[in-house]
């Protein structure tokens, strides 16, 4: 288990529009190595778009995205992944017919070097490589307490466990920056607590930088080092959880204009 230190992430004046819709407007945000930063905001605030920009699904219309100081704004998703950026999705994106182990092994693909022929013969370097990859995957399986589910078919698992497997696949990539899109969506309280524990452990044990989108404010406030708030594509606040919680602009964005004025 050799942790790769977390990467730094910097967004400088990033903007993205879809037709007439301004999804992300002039957002700047910097995340230090090993930091856990949450991005919150009402539905449609542009949170997922922001993650999609970071991992290369979209390219920004304006602004720059720097990973460890290197501009990745124009790179394709697989290139960004190769630089150590992994993510999970709001809606689970796993191969449902495959086992947990196979899904996690797939997470290693960016690190695979052996050619098709060597892999097919499963000989020499290919075999050594497979063993090394399996070791990392086993670390992740142990870390996420999935030992009893190695051979389970992913699609047959309960929702909360599938979410955990998805986190596992992202971890198998040995990311230096982990992007989590609502990892606790649709979970019950106990599952949420487990997941929060795992996220904190990844952050603390492996020093992985984490950007988290989550709707459960309790969780966000508990585990984040810093919180950034988006509303209508703009960043309206940023700071420590207690600062953000007390920020009137945030309350307004969440509760609406009228309520905020009458609120005590």
């Amino acid at each position: 288990m050799t942790p790769r230190a977390g990467a730094s992430l910097e967004l400088r004046g990033v903007a993205k529009a879809f037709g007439g819709v301004q999804a992300v407007v002039d957002v700047s945000l910097s995340v230090a190595p090993g930091e856990l930063v949450s991005v919150i905001g009402p539905n449609g605030a542009g949170k997922t778009t922001l993650l999609n920009l970071v991992n290369g699904f979209y390219h920004p219309d304006a602004g720059r995205i720097l990973l460890d100081g290197v501009d990745v704004s124009r790179l394709a998703p697989h290139r960004v992944a190769a630089l150590g950026v992994a993510r999970t999705f709001q809606n689970i994106a796993l191969f449902k017919g495959m086992t947990v182990l196979d899904n996690l092994m797939l997470g290693r693909h960016v690190h695979m070097r052996a050619g098709a022929l060597a892999s097919l013969l499963y000989w020499g370097p290919a075999q050594r490589e497979e063993v090394a990859h399996r070791r990392r995957v086993e670390d992740v399986i142990d870390f996420l307490r999935l030992t009893h589910l190695r051979r389970a078919i992913t699609g047959a698992l309960p929702y909360g466990l599938q979410k955990r497997v998805e986190l596992g696949r992202a971890l198998a990539l040995e990311p230096r920056l982990l992007l989590l899109d609502e990892p606790m969506g649709g979970m019950n309280q106990e599952e949420k607590e487990d997941m929060a524990r795992f996220i904190l452990d990844v952050n603390e044990e492996w020093g992985t930088t984490i950007v988290l989108i989550e709707h459960d404010m309790g969780v966000v406030m508990d585990i984040s080092d810093r919180v950034a708030v988006l509303d209508m594509g703009r960043k309206i606040a940023e700071g420590r959880p207690d600062e953000v919680r007390a920020d009137p602009r945030v309350i307004t964005a969440y509760l609406g204009q009228a309520r905020a004025r009458t609120a005590p």
Binding site: R134, D139, D142, F143, T147, H148, L200, E204, E205
Partner: protein, 647 residues
């Protein structure tokens, strides 16, 4: 017996390192692979850790507790403490905080070795209440990186300090082990008593080794045997087999990957010796039956046919009658087609000795495994006599008895039919409870087990019930509640049962359904349910259980048949103090808590409002309120319905 080695458990470890050197002592499945330590490596691990403890100031007589699942390092920690003349105090890892605080404080534990963050957090929460505690050591560092306490150490770090200490103090370990005396207390096992707080039974090295000697004479175990350590470390049965017997015989201990993977690990490993409580044998049988039911019609027919063959052969053998050549041929064919593959699937393919103990096992389950070629036998014992009293020799297996007393262990029946035991394994006494010790060990050294029993014609011991629970119905018929409860529990749908009848006109029962089997039954009938309580309160389920009780009543003498019962809206739970962690009923507490139900059972009412407290895993309490209906059980003629319901 150990020659030049001290007559202690660490002495046996030194002997094994010399005698068995490179043979495997310990395996643990980690990262999906079985990792192995030889006897020599095990000794190194124990030595480094012991020296590390010495560096932390561990003194002779100090107590070290372990908490967690079965892990090699926790066993090594126990041996390391014993090597320094200390005492190991294993505790149940699923205990709630209050119970842990009691035991650690009572035993004045100075060092706790915890498996992982979950267990460390429990210690952290209790630390203020444990003045004697000086150090906490953890095995799995995961999640503990950010914990900064001067008294919290990683296992490997302690071993590192131990190696440095060893260089500065050559021969320290060997000298300390040599100081060990057979009469030193090696182990304190807390018995989760059915009344009052737990009591700490002190077992000496002599107790342990002498009992191992008599177990080894009763049952041939070999250094090549494979043992799976998966039962709670705090249970004396695990301590006895995993620690003592393994050291005495030299067999290999295997630790599963996690509690969830035990079934799979069992199959991979194929242990040659296996001890399992009845519920595990029952769940194995259930899994076989479920898979048979889900198989193709042809396979199902083959399975059903050969199962019947096997059970017929077993019945003939048990009665000592000859088995005809036709049946023998079919049995041989069945071995090839069914029995062998089933044993292999269950991980029993190499099992020479399979033991069940702790509670009675249903005769149907018992016969199934024997019929399928598993050498399943009953074993009987108790914490205060170092786990072992009696077991069934090969060829004398019988679901109704617990076998013959092992060599060197005397058993006689005392007043009121109580089973008394005298052996070198009889414990030193309860920690800080001389009064309680005198109550159970008399002047002649006989330990009063509290079990009522008798010897049958063959010389096998038969256990009826706890002696103090044996009473009589109003008309004078002797009444042993456990006898009736065990009959009820033979139903796959019954998880727990509590029978009443002492001083009453008839027998009544409270039954906790088995969520797994009843849930499966409901699903097959398209009966929707929201959880345990909802399921248990359904009329259909009550009817199912009424049929089951009527069926089981036929195996009971007429006056002892269960006439009325209720289904409890929750399972009996150790967290609610209704049952011990080894699943023994705490009758007095139950009688108080469910007084309203008992009144309804005997007051002729047909329903009762029940408000019962429920303790959640984090210690919070809630109240479960519902209306429970009382069910009358018809005459046994209603039994055909039961057969249909089982279908």
């Amino acid at each position: 017996m150990t020659g030049e080695f001290p007559p202690t458990l660490p002495g046996l470890l030194l002997r094994n390192a010399e005698r068995f050197g490179a043979r495997p002592a310990m395996r643990e499945k980690d990262r999906g692979i079985w990792q192995t330590w030889t006897w020599r490596q095990s000794l190194e691990q124990v030595r480094d850790f012991a020296l590390g403890l010495a560096a932390l100031g561990f003194q002779r007589g100090d107590r070290l507790s372990v908490i967690g699942d079965n892990r090699p390092r926790l066993y090594w920690a126990m041996l390391a403490a014993q090597a320094l003349g200390g005492v190991a105090v294993p505790v149940y890892q699923d205990s709630i905080a209050r119970e842990l605080a009691y035991v650690w404080d009572h035993a004045e534990v100075g060092v706790i070795v915890a498996e992982d963050q979950e267990q460390v957090d429990k210690v952290l929460a209790l630390r203020e209440a444990l003045p004697a505690l000086r150090a906490v050591i953890y095995d799995d560092p995961r999640g503990l990186g950010a914990y900064r306490y001067p008294w919290l150490h990683a296992f490997a770090a302690v071993q590192g300090r131990g190696r440095a200490f060893g260089r500065a103090h050559p021969g320290y370990f060997e000298t300390e082990v040599a100081k060990g005396d057979a009469e030193d207390v090696a182990l304190i096992c807390y018995t989760s008593g059915t009344t009052g707080p737990p009591k700490g039974a002190m077992l000496t090295h002599r107790n342990a080794i002498a009992t191992a000697e008599s177990a080894a004479r009763a049952e041939r175990l070999r250094p090549t045997d494979e043992w799976l350590a998966y039962l709670p470390m705090a249970w004396v049965g695990d301590a006895f087999y995993t620690l003592v017997m393994s050291l005495y015989v030299g067999f290999t201990v295997n630790c599963p990957e996690s509690p969830e993977t035990v079934t799979r690990d069992l199959r991979e490993l194929g242990p040659t010796v296996l001890l399992a409580p009845p519920r595990i044998w029952e769940s194995m049988l259930t899994s076989v039956e479920v898979r048979a039911a889900d198989a193709t019609p042809l396979k199902r027919r083959v399975f059903t046919h050969f199962r019947a063959v096997a059970e017929r052969v077993e019945a003939l053998r048990a009665e000592g009658r000859p088995v005809g050549p036709g049946l023998r041929l079919q049995r041989a064919l069945g071995e090839l087609l069914v029995y062998g593959p089933v044993r292999d699937q269950l991980g029993l393919g190499r099992t020479r000795v399979a033991l069940t103990g702790g509670a009675p096992l249903g005769p149907d389950t018992f016969r199934f495994f024997r019929a399928f070629g598993v050498n399943l036998k009953q074993i009987y014992g108790s914490t205060e006599v170092t786990a072992l009293v009696a077991l069934q020799p090969d060829g004398e297996a019988d679901p109704g008895t617990v076998g013959r007393p092992c060599p060197g262990i005397e058993v006689r029946i005392g007043e009121r039919g109580e089973v008394l035991v005298r052996s070198p394994g009889v414990f030193r006494g309860y920690l800080k409870a001389e009064e309680a010790t005198r109550e159970v060990v008399d002047a002649d050294g006989w330990f009063h087990t509290g079990d009522a029993g008798f010897f049958d014609a063959r010389g096998h011991l038969v256990i009826i019930d706890r002696a103090r629970d044996v009473g009589a119905l109003a008309d004078g018929t002797p009444f042993a509640p456990q006898f009736i409860e065990n009959k009820l529990k033979y139903s796959p749908y019954v998880r727990e049962a509590v029978a009443f009848g002492h001083g009453r006109p008839f027998v009544a029962a409270m039954i906790a359904i088995d969520l797994g089997t009843v849930g499966h039954w409901a699903e097959r009938r398209g009966l929707a349910y929201a959880g345990y309580t909802d399921l248990a309160l359904k009329d259909e389920v009550r009817a199912l259980l009424a049929a089951e009780v009527a069926r089981l009543n036929r195996t009971l003498p007429a006056p002892l048949r269960v006439r009325r019962f209720v289904l409890l809206p929750k399972d009996l739970d150790p967290d609610d103090a209704e049952i011990t962690r080894t699943r023994k009923l705490r009758r007095r507490h139950i009688a108080d808590k469910y007084a309203a139900v008992i009144d309804a059972l005997y007051g002729g009412r047909d329903a009762v409002e029940l408000a019962t407290t429920v303790t959640y895993e984090d210690g919070r309490q809630g109240v479960l309120q519902c209306r429970v209906r009382v069910q009358d059980v018809g005459a046994p003629e209603a039994a055909p319905a039961a057969e249909a319901a089982r279908g």
